[in-house]
């Protein structure tokens, strides 16, 4: 069972990388547009909307309804603690060693005093939480412009961030070190997926009502948010049309 899953994971990984390379071609030809794959993306977006409506959202809604707030907070903190491994790793790769040290300090405190990460004690002590991933690291290393891609279930990404996600999965303790118990690992991965989706429930209505074109709204919001993350919350100002 473990072997089969690992093989599946490898294959999916290889497939995604191959797809990425294939997709990178047209991207270079038309970088200004950011969305040379729009036809494919809109099709995948429609597929995802369908999947979400029948399978993902209802589960997230039930989870949201039955889970009391303290439990939700614990789940969020638990996965947030695991994410600090990724934060530390990527801050190091981006040369932000002070931030990486904070991440490691957070990990140490929350895994012990915070009881396996169920409580985010470090934040209360004033250790700032970061939000880093390998896609951002690639951007800092110079791959700052990348075409938008929409994947079913995975959601909005760029070609660069799709590659980044594969590296994140390989370096994620949830996927890697708990590999010995597939059942535990799969439960955790599913729980995290549902928890993340449940966090997005209030956003659904806003996007639904705000957007003239939902696909374009989601795409542009994703690209703006990523730019903000890459610059750690302080992106350089874009030109104002009125100036």
């Amino acid at each position: 069972m473990t072997d089969k899953l690992t093989t599946w994971k490898r294959r999916a990984g290889v497939g995604m990388v191959a797809g990425m390379i294939a997709l990178a071609g047209p991207a270079l030809a038309d970088e200004a547009l950011h969305d040379p794959l729009e036809g494919f993306n809109r099709a995948m977006f429609a597929v995802n909307e369908g999947l979400d409506a029948v399978a993902v959202k209802p589960v997230a809604q039930v989870y949201d309804f039955v889970t009391p707030l303290p439990v939700r907070a614990g789940v969020g903190d638990f996965f947030g603690n695991i994410a600090d491994v990724r934060n530390a790793l990527n801050n190091t790769l981006q040369g932000k060693l002070g931030d990486a040290a904070t991440d490691l300090g957070r990990l140490l405190i929350n895994s012990t005093v915070g009881i396996f990460g169920l409580f985010d004690v470090a934040s209360e002590l004033g250790l700032e939480k970061h939000d880093e991933d390998f896609g951002q690291t690639l951007a800092v290393w110079g791959w700052d412009d990348s075409s938008f891609v929409f994947w079913p279930l995975v959601g909005p990404k760029t070609v660069r961030d799709t590659g980044g996600l594969i590296v994140d999965i390989y370096s994620d303790p949830t996927w890697a070190t708990i590999n010995k118990s597939v059942a535990v690992r799969n439960s955790l991965v599913v729980l995290r997926f549902v928890d993340v989706r449940a966090d997005l429930l209030p956003t659904d209505k806003v996007v639904e009502e705000a957007a003239l074109d939902k696909y374009a709204y989601v795409r542009d919001a994703y690209l703006q948010r990523r730019r903000n993350q890459i610059f750690d919350g302080r992106p350089p100002r874009l030109e104002d049309v009125l100036d």
Binding site: G76, E209, A210, L212, D213, A216, R219, Q224, L238, L242
Partner: protein, 208 residues
């Protein structure tokens, strides 16, 4: 030290003298706290009464926004192609749409707290960024930033950023799409149609 004290004294004095000329960070804080205080006490807004939330935003938040500038930012370079009358129509429709979105966020209020980040500005600044953060139990904090400009009528917000996403410029591609298809008037019609369908939902909710 003495100099600092005197500056501080004068700053406080001026702030008290003219509310309209209040420091931008103080303005954001005051309006935010005022609105949150009302929402905290109002169970019907918390239970999703969109109409009530819209009225609240209209009364408390909108006077501090510059919709002309916001709409120009959302439209981008095509803004210059619009006649003054078209610009006015666009700004009015866009305002309705944004108020709706903003009020919606209020109806999903769940014990959030707003933290105000340290703010610094130089004496002559007329364009500033006020940074805040929304804390919610069990969720990552959400960055919420306001861009303000100084007009004769005081400081006005012209852009709102949620988690780095500008609620204003996020419309640029969608608006461009409508303008390519039907010109400026096409865009006005498209936003008006969207507002009408949202109003329809509101009426349905009222009927319940």
């Amino acid at each position: 030290m003495m100099k600092k004290l005197i500056t501080l004294l004068f700053a406080t004095l001026f702030a008290t003298l003219a509310l309209a000329q209040e420091a931008p960070d103080a303005l954001v804080k005051q309006v935010t706290e005022e609105v949150l205080e009302i929402v905290r006490k109002d169970k019907s807004i918390q239970n999703g009464d969109a109409r009530k939330a819209i009225d609240l935003v209209d009364a408390k938040v909108i006077p501090h926004f510059n919709f002309h500038h916001m709409t120009a930012l959302a439209v981008g370079k095509d803004w210059r192609k619009a006649s003054p009358q078209q610009q006015q129509q666009l700004a009015a429709e866009f305002k309705t749409l944004l108020v709706r979105t903003y009020s919606n966020a209020l109806t999903s209020y769940k014990d959030q707290k707003v933290v105000y980040k340290p703010f610094r500005m130089n004496a002559g600044d007329t364009d500033v960024l006020v940074r805040t953060e929304v804390l919610q139990p069990g969720n990552k904090p959400v960055q919420l930033d306001y861009s303000l400009e100084k007009l004769d009528a005081g400081w006005k917000v012209y852009d709102v950023n949620v988690a780095g996403i500008s609620l204003v410029t996020n419309y640029r591609d969608q608006f461009g799409q409508e303008i390519r298809n039907g010109g400026i008037d096409g865009l006005i019609k498209a936003i008006a149609a969207k507002n009408k369908s949202l109003e329809g939902n509101l009426v349905k909710a009222d009927g319940k």
